[in-house]
């Protein structure tokens, strides 16, 4: 039987705090860490499966048109080549996160440069790759496809109903201080270390796919839909995922291609994307153009707030970078205008890249806030403190626990922030201008439904199972800690099995919801087990203490194994976010403080110090939470300074589709990252009082760096990434 927890109201019980084992929140090492660093964790492409052959995708070299012919004779003669497939069950795009249905399949209808059009299968990977490079595809090209959002033919349409309250123009006129600025950001790629990879096996009825995916519950339906199979006949396994960052939320083209090949050839087929293909045919974060209008009264309180954004995607995609997500709730202003518009262009699918929305929306907003603080000559921290609204400015609902003020104050103290005088060009060390800047962090809290099964085995050990994935964030460990805490056992006694659709459907990893959602299902299952144990002891569940493998109630203490006898206890639980999601504006908060050096000659920027103070509800594991924040801040550095997908304006191809030319930050770009976790319990966040942490560290980080650059050298760059050429253009003569 499945017990269900529908979260309609805040869970004030703080059950985890009432438990006795004392492992929740502890900075435990990731339990699978030793497997990973010793090469024993098997990733999708690494299974040795007898008789397996290798497929390599062939991608389009035009942006728009039709494949008229695939001249495969020559390639079929090449050594080792087994087949060339271009089948309508193959997918031309990656699925959007949570789609649950097949992405666009028509591989011969080319919609973007880099779209998969065929698969070459050969005995070895080298043979397949070589043949793929030589497969001749004929196209009927459509002239002058629209590939650039700046093209004058590009038309933008509202993606959803805009938020319009009062009269923003009037507020801007009436404001004591106003800022009206345009910021831009460029496209990003998730650039996970592990490329997208799948091995498909077909037994005539059931398809098994070893793959690298984030949300199996949805991915199973997506693949089944693409292949025309019943979802029950699709099994997905992703026990280890080498990073996803949104790019593995949905199935990607290699999965369906490997499956089609396995079904057609009746043998296992492995398809691993080349690094260039990871860039060309999965997901990009859309570039954005953002207009920010901030109208403040004489005290610096926002009376008007405008954030409009223009983004792009392929035709038919139901996703637009949700740039305004934080702007909906972060700041006050009765006169408001929030409008997100999208244009349809022929570039690779735009989809979720870590912290969709806030990652780029917040860096622009926080830049504009800095400009407002400067215009008013007040401390930028003070400006933030004066603009913490009482209730959601549009929905008029309360906020759930919000520790923004504490984050701002604690972060400032830790960083030794001096906000009094923000005049640029005051400090110079040798050839470098030195400056500091800050920004607020926020990211909406998401929950997703999730199921998990927990078994208290007769020997007193515990097993947790869910198709939840651990994409390198620490999910295995966090779920282990929740079960260990609830059931009073050492974490080493808890086995966690994830990433297989044979297990109950979890929430998947995405939108920072994984730990809070699947963790709540585990929690619920454990509560069920506790009730059964209490029943055995004849006490109320809340009179039961479980610790170190023993049950204690009143003056009785009994070993769990004895209590269980020979019988294991299993609970299958389902967690569902209910009315709670509408009742509160729930989000994670934080504050960034950065110090940068700007070279007076070259305009190069180096981040020298970077502090982030974050609140995310209950911290389930201080180490993995800190690591998530650090990783987010590294992304912030990339977004601020280096990361940019460069598109050729003529045919829309990505010119820098590899890690040599798409510049993610390297070690030397990243200073010591100082992360401060601010203690919080958010009863509206989840039954665990936890919220999400995976994305918060990015949301605003690049803004702090941009603001520090301005403070250092007086150059305000509103176009991210802030590469040396852009800084240089504003630097004084030398």
């Amino acid at each position: 039987m499945t017990s269900v927890y529908t979260m309609d109201e805040p869970d004030e019980r703080n059950r985890l705090d009432a438990m006795a084992q004392g492992v929740i929140g502890k900075p435990l090492d990731r339990l699978e860490g030793p497997l990973k660093v010793s090469g024993k964790a098997t990733y999708a492409a690494e299974y040795r499966i007898p008789n397996c052959v290798e497929g390599v995708l062939v991608t389009a070299t035009i942006a728009r048109g039709q494949v008229t012919a695939i001249d495969d004779e020559a390639v079929l003669q090449m050594p080792g080549v087994i087949a060339v497939l271009s089948d309508d069950r193959m997918t031309a795009r990656a699925a959007q996160g949570g789609a649950g249905k097949s992405p666009v399949r028509k591989v011969r209808d080319v919609q973007y440069y880099g779209q998969p059009v065929a698969l070459v299968v050969a005995k070895t990977f080298e043979q397949a790759r070589h043949a793929a490079k030589h497969l001749r595809i004929r196209y009927r090209e459509e002239p002058d496809p629209l590939v650039d959002p700046e093209d004058e033919r590009a038309t933008f349409e509202p993606f959803e109903d805009p938020t319009v309250q009062g009269d923003l123009d009037q507020a801007m006129d009436a404001a004591a201080h106003a800022v009206d600025v345009v910021y831009t950001t460029e496209g990003h790629n998730s650039a996970a270390m592990e490329p997208h990879a799948s091995i498909a096996e077909w037994d005539g009825k059931t398809l098994t796919l070893h793959s690298s995916l984030q949300m199996l519950r949805f991915n199973r339906k997506e693949l089944a839909d693409a292949l025309g199979l019943d979802a029950d006949n699709v099994r997905l396994a992703s026990p280890y995922v080498g990073g996803g960052f949104g790019s593995k939320l949905g199935i990607s083209p290699e999965g369906a291609a490997a499956s089609v090949a396995a079904i057609t050839l009746k043998r296992p087929v492995r398809v691993v994307l080349l690094r260039q293909q990871v860039f060309q045919c999965i997901m990009r974060r859309s570039e954005t153009r953002q207009r920010l209008r901030l109208a403040a009264d004489a005290e610096g309180r926002l009376i008007g707030f405008g954030h409009e954004a223009w983004v792009s995607n392929l035709p038919e995609e139901e996703f637009a970078e949700p740039v305004l997500q934080a702007s909906e709730f972060l700041y006050p202003g009765d006169d408001r205008k929030l409008d997100l518009e999208v244009t349809r262009i022929h570039r690779v699918t735009a989809g979720s890249v870590r912290a969709p929305g806030e990652a780029v929306g917040m860096q622009a907003l926080e830049g504009a806030m800095d400009e407002l603080a400067l215009a008013m000559e007040i401390d930028p921290v003070e400006l933030r403190l004066r603009n913490i609204p009482e209730r959601h400015p549009t929905l008029d609902i309360p906020y759930s626990s919000r520790k923004l003020e504490e984050c701002l104050r604690k972060g400032a103290e830790r960083f030794d922030w001096d906000g009094a005088d923000r005049t640029p060009c005051k400090k110079r060390e040798g050839d470098w201008w030195i400056g500091t800047g800050m920004a607020t962090a926020t990211r909406v809290h998401n929950l997703n439904k999730a199921e998990a099964r927990v078994t208290f085995r007769a020997d007193g050990s515990v097993e947790v199972a869910s198709d939840m994935t651990d994409i390198g964030t620490g999910t295995y460990t966090v779920l282990q800690q929740i079960a260990a805490e609830m059931l009073g056992v050492d974490p080493g006694r808890v086995e966690v099995h994830l990433g297989d659709t044979d297990f109950p459907p979890g929430s998947g990893s995405g939108g920072s919801w994984g730990a809070a959602s699947t963790g709540s299902a585990v929690f619920q299952a454990c509560e069920g087990i506790r009730s059964k144990l209490a029943a055995k002891l004849g006490c109320a569940e809340d009179e039961l203490t479980l610790k170190d493998g023993h049950a204690v109630t009143g003056n009785r203490r009994i070993a769990i194994a004895d209590l269980l006898g020979d019988e294991a206890l299993t609970e299958h639980a389902r967690f569902k976010p209910g009315k709670i999601t509408e009742a509160f504006a729930a989000a994670m908060y934080g504050a960034f403080f950065a110090e940068v050096a700007v070279n007076v000659y070259s305009g190069e920027v180096r981040v020298r110090r970077f502090t982030g103070a974050f609140s995310m509800g209950r911290v389930l594991n201080a180490k993995t939470a800190t690591s998530q924040c650090m990783g987010g801040m590294v992304w912030g550095i990339g977004s601020a300074l280096t990361e940019e997908l460069a598109f050729d304006q003529r045919d829309g191809h990505i010119v820098n589709p590899d890690l040599a030319e798409y510049h993610v930050p390297v070690n030397l770009d990243v200073p010591h990252l100082d992360v401060l976790l601010v203690e919080e319990r958010d009863p509206a966040g989840s039954p665990l009082q936890a919220k999400g942490v995976g994305e918060l560290g990015i949301c605003g980080a690049a803004g702090a760096i941009a603001n520090a650059i301005h403070h250092a050298c007086g150059v305000r760059v509103r176009s991210f990434p802030i590469t040396p050429d852009k800084v240089l253009a504003g630097l004084p003569e030398v």
């Binding site: 050594p79 070589h130 050839d431 070259s602 010119v655 040396p724 240089l728 253009a729 630097l731």
Partner: protein, 326 residues
Amino acid sequence: MKGFDYSRAEAVTHAAEQAREGARLIAGGTNLLDLMKLEIERPDALVDINRLELGGIERTEGGLRIGALVSNSACAADERIRRDYPILARAILAGATFQLRNKATTGGNLCQRTRCYYFYNRDQPCNKREPGTGCGAIGGVNRIHAILGASEACIATYPGDMAVALAALDASVEVSGRDGSARMIPVRAFHRLPGDHPERDNVLEAGEVITAVVLPEPVGGTQIYRKVRDRSSYAFALVSVACVIAMEEGRIGRASLAFGGLAHKPWHDPGVEELLVGNEPSDALFDKAADVLLAEAKGQGANDFKIPMTRRVLKGVLREATGRAV
């Protein structure tokens, strides 16, 4: 990757013999293998030169002879090089990563190919990769491209750092021909401008093997290698300046400069040196030096910034080298 024959050269003359048309020498492989996987290089034979005895750094009359197989790491760590030619050590360490430098060799480094995005994409036109197909970078994304010495056929840059320092040091490349004859090519004349034949990066003839790089007598002075790049490490130079300057009684006694990131070869302009030598250092002089250097500079749009960047960075380097840092 296209299939290829593999052979191991036991002597330089063997290597030269085997290095026929369509064959490639392989040293560290850090550039060649990448290009082969992408099928930008499609040799039908690889001649492995790693067993040749070209792995030492020896003293010559006055200078040093760095064997072609000396790894970039070993070269940069050599005590004599760090003491007498610090600019070379610094330039090498400014390039690539530890792992790559451990594998990369002196000869291979000199011959590394451009990082032009279009050169790297077989589906795009590129006169360097496939003569006659056109140049994708002209009118495309050319932020990293040349501002000096480009042609209508090709606007690529030579991407390396080491060779820029070698050009400033006026080192020579020792080359052995098929008939066993040796010739010396000044580093400054080793790489070519693209002209109508961008497919040729340098002046090596088929069958020629680089056996060493020969450094002249130590020149002393202040030696600076300044590399400007998009991230702190593991990125090629947007602009780099290699500068050796010796002051004599308040005047610039000797000056030797070379530039990376500007052209299809490490850029050396004797006019700049002539202007500097014999003069008292001043900002006005440095500005003039930049004027001379950049007189013919031409941007392609996205790389226009390299002109002011070079000007400013050169000025900073000259200030530092002449002790006029502000």
